[in-house]
Every structure is written in C-alpha cells, then in structure tokens.
Symmetry: C2
C-alpha cells in the first residue's frame, strides 16, 4: 500500500542521507520526497511517499523516530489530509499545435511560464490524479522535459489531534 509520511527533522548535515538510507536498507522504494525549511530555519519538514509492505513500514517509522535528528514522524491516514504537488513540463509546440495545447492547459488551469519557437513550459499544481491526467493529455504533443516536486501534505483541521 502507498503511504504519505511527514517527518520533522533538525536541519543538519546528513539527516536526509540517514532518513533515505533507512528506507533503502529495507528495500523500501521512495516514490517521491520533498524537503524544505519550516518557519524555524533550524527545522526542516520532509514529505515522503512510499509503497510496500505495511508491517515493514511500521518498523521503518519506528526506527526513524529513534534517529537523533528526527523530531516527529507521522504516517498520514488517507482522507485526513490535503496533498498537492507542482509539476513543470516542457512540451514540443509550434504555431500549428500551440492553440490546442493552450486550450487543454486552460481546462486544467495550468499556466504558461516560458515559450519559445519549438516548445512551451507549463506549470500545473493539484492533487496527483489531476496532475497525472494533464501529463497524459500532453504526451501526444511530445514531452521534452518533466520535473515533479512530489507531494506535500497537511492534515485537515477537523482531523488535527488535540
């Protein structure tokens, strides 16, 4: 099963390597990972999407919790949080296909952030399914480059503890 895990860590050398090493040592593949500072620059927040055996994941999160620089580990229950990602996508385009690409982009509320003679770079944000559907729609035009941030997630207020 797929899990979305939020990990709050001290912003120190090597934390990322230790956290990701823990997953790979258990042959647990990471689908996506994002890490960025919080409002306190000494503290970072990671959001990790992993897939695999639930029992093994339970062991991994317990081990994560024991790492010195890990402050908090939360396995977000499906349905309790909002998840979003951002994708940049460079698609082949010329005068003949540009209008069609822009029409599809409008439907998905994607925006154009760069344009040239042979390509356009579009930005789309949303839940994974929406983003994936947009990527599918762009494939026939020819995707030259694709960069996904991976998911960030936050619990809904009504699901917050305390």
């Amino acid at each position: 099963m797929r899990h979305t895990i939020s990990v709050i860590v001290e912003n120190k050398f090597g934390v990322l390597a230790r956290v990701s090493g823990l997953f790979s040592s258990r042959s647990y593949n990471i689908d996506s990972l994002t890490v960025g500072e919080t409002t306190d620059p000494s503290v970072s927040r990671m959001t990790i999407v992993v897939r695999g055996d639930d029992r093994v994941l339970d062991q991994v999160t317990k081990q994560l919790d024991k790492l010195v620089d890990v402050i908090e580990v939360t396995d977000l229950p499906a349905g309790s949080y909002v998840g979003r990602e951002l994708v940049l996508l460079k698609v082949a385009s010329e005068s003949g296909t540009r209008t069609e690409i822009l029409e599809i982009a409008n439907i998905f509320r994607a925006i154009t952030i760069d344009i040239g003679h042979k390509s356009m770079t579009l930005q789309i944000t949303g839940a994974e399914e929406k983003v994936s559907a947009f990527i599918e729609m762009m494939k026939p035009f020819g995707i030259l480059e694709l960069a996904r941030t991976g998911k960030v997630a936050m619990t809904r207020e009504l699901n917050d503890k305390g």
Copy 2:
C-alpha cells in the same frame, strides 16, 4: 554561493541515499531537494538547492556524475531557467481575521484548500522570493504548519543546448 542542480537518475533503491550522502560527506548542506518520476517511470529527476564553496561543489558534481545510477548532472546557471515551488501553509484564523488573510492571499494569488473554525490552509506557488514574501505576511496571524516542496527548475528554451 547558492546553486540549483538537476540530477537525472535511475529510479532504484538507494539512489537518493547515495546522492544525498555525497553532499553530506563533504559537509555540504542541502537547502531543498525534490525527487519525482519522469515520463519514464524507471527514471527520476531530482532538483537540489545547495549553498557553499564553488570549488567543492565542482568536485561534488563530478563525483555525482561517476555514480552508477546517475544519468546526467546539470548545474543550472542563474538566469537560464525558470524555478518554482509550492507551499502549503496552515494559518491560525477566526471570524475576526479571516477577511484580512483572504485579502492578502488574493494579492499573492494564493488559494484556500481547507478551512476550519480555528485555521485555514492556503496553497501558494511561485518563485522563491514571492513565496517567502507571502510567508512573512502570514507570520503575524500565526503559522501553525508549513510544508514547502522545494524548488523545481527547467531551462528556458533559448538557453537549451543543441
């Protein structure tokens, strides 16, 4: 100096740990890192923002290039690419402050993705300076949670090689 590095890798166990380990072994701190699949699920793309000595970074990128699972390493020259990030931000809000928060959000084109009695969750996307300015404006209301994806980046067509 700050650098934005794009790394194309085989999507295999342990690649993330090896790449991030290479930076930390040189005491090179990672400001942000994102990793996600490309259109080919066997290939992932990482965008890494690091800060430190240029000469050391040069050594690190050369070593990265030598790792078995690394396909391509590009140190993106400032000004040659578009960079974007996505941020989710849960801010304390009640009937007295909600309107004011929404007015500021509108100016930054941030959108509301969850609302409750005590808080709102906002989503903002953009270049780092815009995102940081918005976070500053939200601080007086009380930021309860913050999750940044970190930057993804793509070269502009006019700067593409070949």
